[in-house]
């Protein structure tokens, strides 16, 4: 039962990543692409934590935390660059 539920949630997360990747490719403006990247990072944090449950290793939660910090800085840097240059 629990395995089936976890597989189903993995499938839903896969489709979320697929849709935001489609937005990243077709984009049209730069803000659309950065929003897609921001969303992908948050989904990836959830996916890393879920994988740490599936594999049973606590260390991957630390990986998710560091990944979140770095991606947040990346999005802020791009927003600042758009607003007033480097």
């Amino acid at each position: 039962m629990a395995d089936v539920l976890l597989k189903l949630s993995g499938l839903l997360i896969f489709f979320g990543i697929l849709f935001s990747l489609a937005r990243l490719v077709i984009g049209r403006t730069i803000v659309d692409r950065i929003v897609a990247i921001d969303m992908l990072t948050v989904i990836t944090i959830s996916l890393i934590v879920l994988y740490s449950h599936v594999s049973g290793r606590f260390i991957y939660v630390d990986v998710a935390l560091v990944y979140g910090v770095l991606s947040f800085l990346a999005v802020l840097a791009v927003a600042r660059y758009l607003e007033r240059g480097l």
């Binding site: 039962m1 629990a2 539920l5 976890l6 189903l8 949630s9 993995g10 839903l12 997360i13 489709f15 979320g16 990543i17 697929l18 849709f19 935001s20 489609a22 937005r23 403006t29 803000v31 659309d32 950065i34 929003v35 897609a36 921001d38 969303m39 948050v42 989904i43 944090i45 959830s46 934590v49 879920l50 740490s52 449950h53 606590f58 939660v61 630390d62 998710a64 935390l65 979140g68 910090v69 947040f72 999005v75 802020l76 791009v78 927003a79 600042r80 758009l82 607003e83």
Partner: protein, 135 residues
């Protein structure tokens, strides 16, 4: 034993709810009409989905709860900040809005501020002229 099985099923359901919100965020970011509504749909739904996934994994592994709480709090703080900075930058560089947009409060605010600055400048010049006449 029964308690462990119950906890696993409950945590898996909460993780499934979070995954559904992540999926709907992807759908929103694909289907929304312009960049600002995409920011809205993507950021809010992914925040809720991420919180639910953290809660579900926390139910499955109660001894990981502290670090999961740290990750959840971090996402809860940084995600609105990055989306706000991104929306402000997009408005500043003139990303077009959907034709059905009703109000743009930031543009009205900037127009009012520019008019006020222009009026103050004109008033200062008039005052300087009058002072010159008096002398």
């Amino acid at each position: 034993m029964a308690e462990t099985a119950l906890r696993e099923i409950l945590g898996s359901f909460v993780v499934l709810a979070g995954a559904f919100f992540l999926f709907s965020a992807g759908l929103g970011v694909l289907r929304m009409p312009d960049a600002f509504t995409r920011i809205q749909a993507g950021t809010k739904a992914t925040t809720l989905g991420n919180l639910l996934v953290m809660l579900g994994v926390g139910i499955l592994h109660p001894d990981w709860a502290l670090k999961l709480l740290l990750v959840a709090g971090f996402v809860l703080i940084t995600n609105p900040v990055s989306s706000h900075a991104l929306a402000r930058a997009g408005h500043f560089i003139g990303i077009p809005m959907a034709p059905s947009t009703g109000a743009d409060a930031l543009r009205d605010d900037e127009n009012a501020k520019a008019e006020k600055a222009k009026a103050e400048k004109a008033g200062a010049e008039n005052g300087a002229d009058r002072a010159g006449d008096g002398a």
